[in-house]
Amino acid sequence: MAINWFKYSAPTTFYGLAGKLIPWFAIPAAMLCVIALYIGFVVAPVDATQGQFYRIIYIHVPASIISMFLYLVMAGYAALGLIFNTRLSSMMASAVAPTGALFAFISLWTGALWGKPMWGAWWVWDARLTSELILLFLYLGFIALHAAIDDPRRADRAAALLAIVGSVNVPIIYFSVKWWNTLHQGSTIKYSGTSMHIAMQQAMFTMLVACWLYAIAVTLMRVRSIILERERHTKWIAQLAEVK
C-alpha cells in the first residue's frame, strides 16, 4: 500500500496528525528519562578521576547533541520553506527554534556546572564553548528576527536566510575540539570504540533518545498553535471541534 507522504505536508492534514502523534513521543520520552536516570545514578559506577561530578554527562551531552541537531533540522525546514514556498516547513522551523535554544542553554549551563569542579572555572573562552554560545545567539536571533517582522511570510524568508547562513556554525562546534587546542575534552565515543563503562553509555544514549522524543513532542505541540494562529481565517479551522 503506497502512502502519500505529501498529503501531510499541508497544515490542514498535518494539524490532526501532529495531535495524534504527541502522546506517542511524550510518554516514551518521560519513561526513557526515568530509565536513563536510574541507570546513570544507580547502575553506573563512579568515575575514577572525576568522581560523582561526571554524572552531569547524562544531561550535558544529550542536550549538546540535540541543540546542534535541532539547528540543522530548523535550517533544513527553513530552506525548504524558502525554496519551495511551503507554509508548513516555515511553521516547523519556527516551532523548532525555541526548543533548540533551550537545549543550547541547558548545554551551556550544565557545562558551566561541570567546568567549575573540573577546571576551576565556570566559563573559559574555549572554541567549543564559544561556538556553542554562538549557536544559542543564532537561535535567539532567529526567534527575534521572526518576531520583529509583522508579515509572517516575509518573517519566514528573512529568518530562513539567518538559519541557513548560521548552519555553518554546527560543524565548527563539532570539529572545534579537533581543529583547535581546547580545554574541552574531545569525543569519548569514537567509531574505533570507547573507554566508557557500558552502563554510562547506556544511560547517555537512553537520555539522548528521551531528549530527542521530548523535542519532537514539544515541537509538534508548538506547531499546532502556530498553524491555528496563521490559518485562523480559513474554513477548515472554523470546522475544528476545539474551535467550535
Binding site: 554524572r55 541547558i106 569542579p117 514539544v218 485562523r232
Partner: protein
C-alpha cells in the same frame, strides 16, 4: 570559596540541583508555555469566529 568546599562535600546534591534540577525546570517551563500558548490561541480564534459570525448576522 565556600561553594567550592560545599560542592566537593556534596557532589551528588550539586549535580542534581545544579544540572538536572535546572534542566527539568526548563522543560517544565517550556511545556507550561506551549500549553498556555495553545489555550490563548484557541481562545483568540474562537473570539474571532464569534465576532465574524455576529457581523454576518
Amino acid at each position: 570559596m565556600s561553594l567550592d568546599i560545599w560542592m566537593r562535600e556534596n557532589p551528588l546534591t550539586y549535580v542534581w540541583i545544579g544540572s538536572y534540577g535546572v534542566a527539568f525546570l526548563v522543560f517544565a517551563v517550556e511545556i507550561a508555555m506551549v500549553v498556555h500558548k495553545r489555550k490563548i490561541t484557541l481562545q483568540q480564534v474562537r473570539l474571532m469566529r464569534e465576532a465574524e459570525e455576529s457581523e454576518e448576522i
